[in-house]
């Protein structure tokens, strides 16, 4: 609170915040106290203002407030215009322009630097890529060559296998009938064939042992 000579704190009046030795200033009569004898039957005089004077006063005040309102708006708009076109605004604008140009220049230099670095990187990458592609092409060629050789070998093998042609068919039939193949045999993990009732290869004599080989 400001230091006033007498104050109203929590509706307790006539207290002073500052200590002073002079007489205490009077703010107002305490609210509960009775009316003084001299004021009991007093009627406060009311000012009489004729109607035409009142009307004139009202007219004057209405006009004045109307004019003041419009003036305030005018001043406000002037201040806005001034803010945009005044000296301070122009200087600000100029400084901003300079700053902008400086920053654009800096940006351009930075871009050039990074562009150079990028180009070098790209060159190295391109070189690597070229080498990779070459290596892969060579690999591919090698593979196709090997594949062709394999195909050749396979075809050769197929050709050499004894297929039954139309001319050989009767001979083949007679051969098949003459040599029946018996599949009633068991086979060992080592490939030994068990045709009889023996279950161990040691029991079969050496001369009669058969072995299937996977070629």
């Amino acid at each position: 609170m400001f230091a006033r000579s007498s104050s109203r704190i929590f509706n307790v009046i006539n207290i002073s915040c500052i200590q002073s030795r002079s007489a205490r200033a009077w703010v107002r009569k305490p609210l509960g106290s009775p009316m003084a004898k001299s004021k009991m039957f007093r009627i406060a005089p009311k000012k009489f203002i004729p109607a035409d004077e009142k009307a004139e006063v009202k007219r004057l005040y209405d006009n004045y407030f109307h004019q003041m309102k419009s003036l305030r708006h005018y001043f406000f708009e002037q201040s806005l215009e001034q803010a945009e076109s005044g000296e301070v605004a122009q200087m600000k604008h100029r400084l901003e322009e300079e700053e902008h140009i400086r920053l654009m220049e800096e940006n351009r230099l930075e871009n050039e630097k990074t562009a150079k670095l990028r180009e070098e990187k790209l060159k190295i990458q391109a070189e690597k890529k070229r080498e990779n592609i070459l290596a892969s092409l060579i690999n591919k060629e090698e593979e196709t060559r090997l594949y062709e050789i394999q195909i050749e070998a396979f075809l050769e093998k197929q050709k050499t296998t004894p297929f039954i042609q139309a001319e050989n068919i009767e001979k083949a039939i007679e051969e098949a009938l003459a040599n029946p193949v018996d599949f009633n045999f068991a086979i060992d993990l080592d490939g030994y064939v068990y045709r009889g009732r023996e279950t161990a290869i040691e029991k079969i004599p050496e001369e009669e042992r058969e072995r299937l080989r996977s070629n």
Partner: protein
């Protein structure tokens, strides 16, 4: 249309007279202050002065910085009645109704007894010192 023109919100600042000087010698500063502050409290800007005692030429001197007053009015500062009257008399603002009312009251009523006498010698004494 009320919505077309923006209404001014109160910014809590006011242009008014601060009484300085000493006993029997008032001197006012025309000042921009926050409404809450006291007359002897912090002042945002002094924008003029008003000497209530007439000088040897029987003039009451008023000084006003109109540019700054315009700036503060544009910001939305309020004005006390005496300041508005002074600015109206100076021609910066329209005449305050109070000046006109006071002038016709003065013409109507006889002058009342005053303690301070008008300065005699250079300017002639007035019958009605209110005018």
């Amino acid at each position: 249309m009320a919505s077309a023109i923006p209404t001014f919100t109160k910014i809590g600042k006011v242009i008014r007279l601060n009484k300085h000087g000493c006993t029997n010698r008032p001197f006012y500063h025309i000042v921009v202050q926050k409404t809450k502050d006291n007359f002897d409290g912090p002042v945002i800007e002094q924008v003029g002065s008003y000497d209530a005692m007439p000088n040897s030429q029987n003039e009451k001197l008023v000084a006003v910085n109109f540019e700054r007053v315009q700036y503060w009015l544009a910001q939305g500062a309020g004005m006390s009645n005496p300041v508005a009257q002074l600015l109206g008399l100076s021609g910066f603002l329209p005449n305050h109704p109070q000046t006109l009312i006071q002038s016709w009251k003065n013409r109507r009523e006889p002058p009342r007894e005053r303690k301070l006498q008008p300065i005699k010698g250079i300017a002639p004494p007035l019958d009605n010192p209110k005018i």
